[in-house]
Subunit: 319 residues, 2 copies
């Protein structure tokens, strides 16, 4: 199976990065590329911060802090303490080691390099050989509509700790985006055998990627099967505000809702054993299902789920 695979994994932060790590254990740099959400990139203290790219880079290079789900392991906080002393904005925590990534990225972008080229350079320096493509080189910023105000994503997510009630989302700049040219080249180089939407938040991790001009059409028209892994398990999300958002938006907080969200292009759906009762109704939408353990506690769990995803893709290809 693994010999003939060429997989594009589409991912946001924590949950998606876990499955990404599993896939990277099974597939070579020629067989696997990542397309990553940059809708929650933002400029903070003059630095260009790409939270989901960083989470993926730190996860793949073994530097991620698995307890917090963001930032690096064994991180230092001297900078933050000094910044606080100076009266600087301290609602977004930047670790001493992590800062190197933001400062170097900002410097390279200011030199005129594309985010894609900068990401390649920083990922390569971090020892990662799999291609990592930002969803686009343009500025597309996710904004969260709430009862009171429309908030920048990080303001909603970090500063307000996801407390405001969500009424919708804006994707500023989406109209001016185009698919990542390096991704397009990668797709042309050899057609993918499968596309996997990792278990990330559908609204703020995957949707921004789908908002990039051409992406939704690309997925709908793909010869390779497109599958998704549910980030919702037993009505709960492993991490983050997915379920809270569903409830506030009046969407049932089920794996089925996630499958429906992607129904226009989805060929297969991987859901947890706990949600097996939803499999049948998903299949009725002409989406194949795989019921398996999707909760990833250990590296073995990550690899096992990656294997299940690859098996699903292969079975759909041979239909």
């Amino acid at each position: 199976m693994i010999d003939n695979a060429r997989i594009l994994a589409i991912t946001g932060g924590v949950g998606g990065a876990k499955l990404s790590l599993g896939l990277a254990q099974l597939l070579s740099a020629e067989q696997l590329a990542f397309l990553v959400n940059t809708g929650d990139d933002f400029n903070h203290l003059g630095l260009h911060i790409s939270p989901d790219i960083d989470t993926l880079v730190y996860t793949l290079s073994g530097k991620a802090n698995l307890e917090t789900g963001w930032g690096r392991r064994n991180e230092g906080w001297e900078f933050m303490a000094a910044l606080r002393e100076l009266g600087g904005e301290d609602w977004f925590s930047l670790g001493d080691k992590d800062l190197a990534m933001h400062i170097e990225r900002t410097r390279l972008l200011a030199e005129g390099n594309s985010l894609t080229d900068v990401t390649t350079r920083l990922a390569t320096a971090s020892g990662i050989s799999h291609p990592i493509f930002p969803m686009c080189d343009d500025s597309l910023r996710t904004r969260v509509r709430t009862a009171d105000a429309t908030l920048d994503f990080q303001t909603y997510f970090v500063r307000e700790r996801c407390a405001p009630v969500v009424t919708g989302f804006d994707f500023d700049g989406a109209a001016n985006t185009k698919m990542n040219p390096k991704l397009v080249a990668w797709l042309r180089e050899a057609p993918p055998t499968g596309i996997i939407l990792c278990p990330s938040n559908p609204f703020v991790s995957i949707d921004p990627i789908l908002q990039v001009n051409g992406m939704r059409d690309f997925l709908a028209g793909s010869d390779a099967p497109v599958i998704a892994v549910s980030p919702v398990v037993g009505g709960d999300a492993i991490k983050g505000p997915t379920v809270k958002m569903m409830q506030e938006l009046g969407i049932p907080n089920t794996a089925q809702s996630v499958a429906s969200h992607y129904a226009d292009f989805l060929d297969g759906f991987v859901l947890d054993l706990e949600d097996k009762q939803h499999a049948e109704s998903i299949q009725k939408k002409d989406i194949a299902t795989v019921v398996t353990q999707t909760v990833m506690r250990t590296l073995d769990d990550r690899v096992a789920l990656a294997r299940d995803c690859l098996k699903c893709v292969q079975q759909l290809s041979s239909r």
Copy 2:
């Protein structure tokens, strides 16, 4: 004596900051202001770094690393290690705590604040009440001419460790400078009773300040006595390349040479006991001399030298 003083201290980095600390122990925030060299400010990794302002702020707030003469005490180096891993430029060391200063300064400048206002904010946040004026709000950059090339100051000073033979100096942008408006306001608010050039490198710490349009005329025309403290003691400099530069420029490496360097506006000169044989020839240039211990090892030394300077200023005023 101290009751009626209103002193402007003109200073560069390490040596100047030591005497500045001594002065700050004796004079209130209404009695003492600092004018600081920014000719060796530079942009590094996208950050605006003001080495002499930082040295003064760290010294006055008790945070300075007295062993290295730059940066903060108890500094962490996690950022530098991570930057090195990413292949970033690591010839200029930025400590984890120190970074907060550069990032916050850069952010505030990008918001359109003047360097003076940013400095006031950061110094105040650091617990400093004495006014600290950058020499100007304009960009004046010291460049070092050497046999092979003209180098940015920090390239010469840090990257090349002062090794290249110096043939002269350029002060890029000097023509477009004007005296710091906040300094001008401070001078108008109440006339100074004395101006003290701290024991800093004449060529790369004090001369850039003198290159600011209006500064040399201001000093030459000042009603208040202008005195300088020799950074050269017994033919040696306590710290930095002052003597090496003198030798390369063909200037005798003596306290007398320093006094001559400022002869057009100098009223008094403070030199070390070790150099007392030079006092007479300096006096012949109509410059009063004070021979005292100028080497500052302890806080008491700093305060004692500050007291000697204030006494000298007072005696010159009453002539």
